[in-house]
Amino acid sequence: MAIVVKKQKLSIFEKLYVFEVAAGMWVTLRHFLRNVFNTNALPTLNYPEEKRALAPNYRGLHRLLKKETGELKCTACKICAGACPARCITVEMTLDDAGKPKKTPLRYDIDIGRCIFCGFCVEACPFDAIDMNTGVYELADADIENYLYTKEKLAR
């Protein structure tokens, strides 16, 4: 489909171009002067030193919650592992001597390298045993083994 481009009628001042250039130069100079004398008021955050305030529902690193007795709330039901679209949660149940399952995890590993921080595990958990509001998001690491967060690391 052809589009008709309308040519704008320029006034004599605009055609001279000089005044428009001067106006543009004034805009940039204004920004420059404002910022050079007020560098601290710039909206830029100097990231590692300055950090943004996080939203209350920000999804960061997971946390395994504890009961008042100090045990984990987690019952190793594996609903979170089932809900995880990235398949990054590995749960193993504790068995007692008779081979009967005890309702506490032997292993609870999250592979942060695979985690997509969707929060489905938190929504799926029927016991409110896991949440993501630690506000920790600086999770990059040079060693891939450090991406495996075990039960001890998560239950802080």
């Binding site: 250039v21 543009g24 130069m25 805009v27 940039t28 100079l29 920004h31 420059f32 910022n35 050079v36 004398f37 560098t39 601290n40 710039l42 909206p43 830029t44 100097n46 030193e49 300055e50």
Partner: protein
């Protein structure tokens, strides 16, 4: 090199070497300054912070130190020479443009002649009678580098860019030459020193007879043509950093850096030439060399007062910058302010000492000449710096011209204006000699 008696004139040789080192040092130093200006002004115009991380023992100089990090990076990068290039031409291009950039300053006078006893030392490296014709000739050579580089790369986009830049530079060279004819008519000189001396006179007794006052159109035309010669925005078609590909795509590491170092050196050279031709060169307005020399103590104290005020203002601004910060660096950068405050304190102490010099006794002639030299070289550098600033400022304001607009501006607008300027100047010079 040889004097009247055919012997080697060691004084001349030594002085010329010293002046050449100064001129080159100035050009090379301004490469760093221009890159720093480019980064910081660009950032501040766009409401960003700009470089503020690279530091040497915590001293960052507002991002100036990033230049050194940059130099190290470029030097240690792998130097790739593509297999398909024409090696001779390919390797020739960067040194050519850098050499030409460093030659520009050789005829520009950066202060009045220094008189020591019977010895008159001209404060320019080469004392050429052809003056700015030499500069026009030298700067027009730089198009060879672009064409050789584009052609030697043996690849189509650099070749296109080389053709573009060739056409651009040749068309704007004509305007550049034409815009200076009026200046020659008014001052009757092409020798740069004589031009600057002539600009020290007064028009109607109180306006400095600078080139920009007597030749405003010539000044504008020359500045636009100089921007085009520099390949700076709005005329950066040869480079076309973001979309139309420049002549240096096949270059890497230090060879690539040489092109850009030459560009930034050229900015300074062009700024120095514009200063010399149109903004009075080393002339302080209303203060001729004789005035400075005969009133040396007063001038010295005035300088001291200016320096003290500037140091106080700078200290206040720095204090505001550091005290209003929203965060802590938690390392050596925290102590950076001490360096600045130390330097400012030294300036303050020196200027107070200069003010407290005993009495208003005239300084010795050599000291007075030295004071005049320092002041004039200083004002020359300050003027050049301001023009460098404007060049960078223009770059971050104006968009690039299309190719047909570029040619239309050069041939249909600036060329007739240049000729009209010559005619009008000729009539005015004839009527009011």
């Amino acid at each position: 090199m040889t004097n009247f008696y055919g012997r080697i004139d060691w004084i001349f040789l030594g002085l010329t070497t010293a002046k050449a080192v100064f001129a080159w040092g100035l050009t090379l130093g301004f490469i760093l300054v221009n890159i720093f200006l480019e980064r910081k002004i660009c950032a501040l115009i766009q409401d960003r912070v700009g470089p503020n991380r690279a530091n040497i023992l915590g001293v960052r100089l507002f991002g100036f130190v990033l230049n050194f990090a940059d130099a190290v990076k470029l030097l240690f990068k792998e130097d790739i020479t593509p297999s398909f290039v024409n090696k001779t031409y390919y390797l020739m291009a960067p040194p050519i443009i850098m050499t030409i950039a460093l030659m520009g300053m050789s005829v520009v006078p950066f202060a009045d002649d220094l008189v020591v006893g019977s010895l008159v030392i001209p404060m320019r490296v080469l004392d050429l009678n052809v003056g700015f014709l030499f500069i026009l000739a030298i700067t027009s050579l730089s198009v060879y580098s672009l064409v050789i580089g584009g052609f030697g790369s043996n690849s189509k986009y650099p070749l296109f860019a080389a053709m573009r830049s060739c056409a651009q530079m040749i068309s704007y060279e004509i305007v550049m030459g034409l815009s200076l004819v009026g200046l020659v008519m008014v001052y009757g000189a092409v020798h740069l020193q004589r031009l600057v001396v002539a600009q020290g006179e007064m028009l109607f007794g109180f306006i400095p007879k600078w080139g920009v006052v007597v030749q405003p159109l010539g000044c504008v035309l020359f500045c636009i043509a100089a921007l085009a010669e520099l390949n700076r925005t709005p005329f950066d078609l040869p480079e076309g950093e973001s979309e139309i590909i420049g002549f240096h795509v096949e270059y890497s590491s230090m060879k690539f850096a040489l092109f850009f170092m030459a560009e930034y050196a050229n900015i300074f050279v062009a700024a120095a030439i514009i200063t010399t031709l149109f903004f009075g060169g080393w002339q302080l307005p209303w203060l001729s060399t004789e005035t400075i020399k005969s009133n040396a103590p007063v001038v010295l104290r005035a300088c001291a007062i200016v320096a003290l005020t500037a140091a106080a203002v700078a200290a206040y601004l720095l204090h505001r910058l550091y005290s209003k910060r929203r965060y802590q660096w938690k390392d050596l950068r925290e102590k950076e302010g001490l360096v600045f405050y130390g330097v400012l304190a030294c300036v303050g102490v020196l200027s107070i000492m200069a003010m407290l010099l005993p009495g208003f006794t005239p300084l010795s002639p050599i000291m007075a000449s030295g004071l005049a030299l320092l002041l004039q070289a200083g004002i020359f550098i300050v003027k050049s710096f301001i023009i460098c600033f404007i060049v960078v400022w223009i770059r971050w304001t104006l968009p690039r011209l299309r190719y047909d607009q570029l040619m239309a501006l050069g041939w249909k607008i600036m060329l007739p204006l240049g000729i009209a300027n010559i005619v009008v100047t000729g009539i005015v010079v004839l009527l009011f000699p």
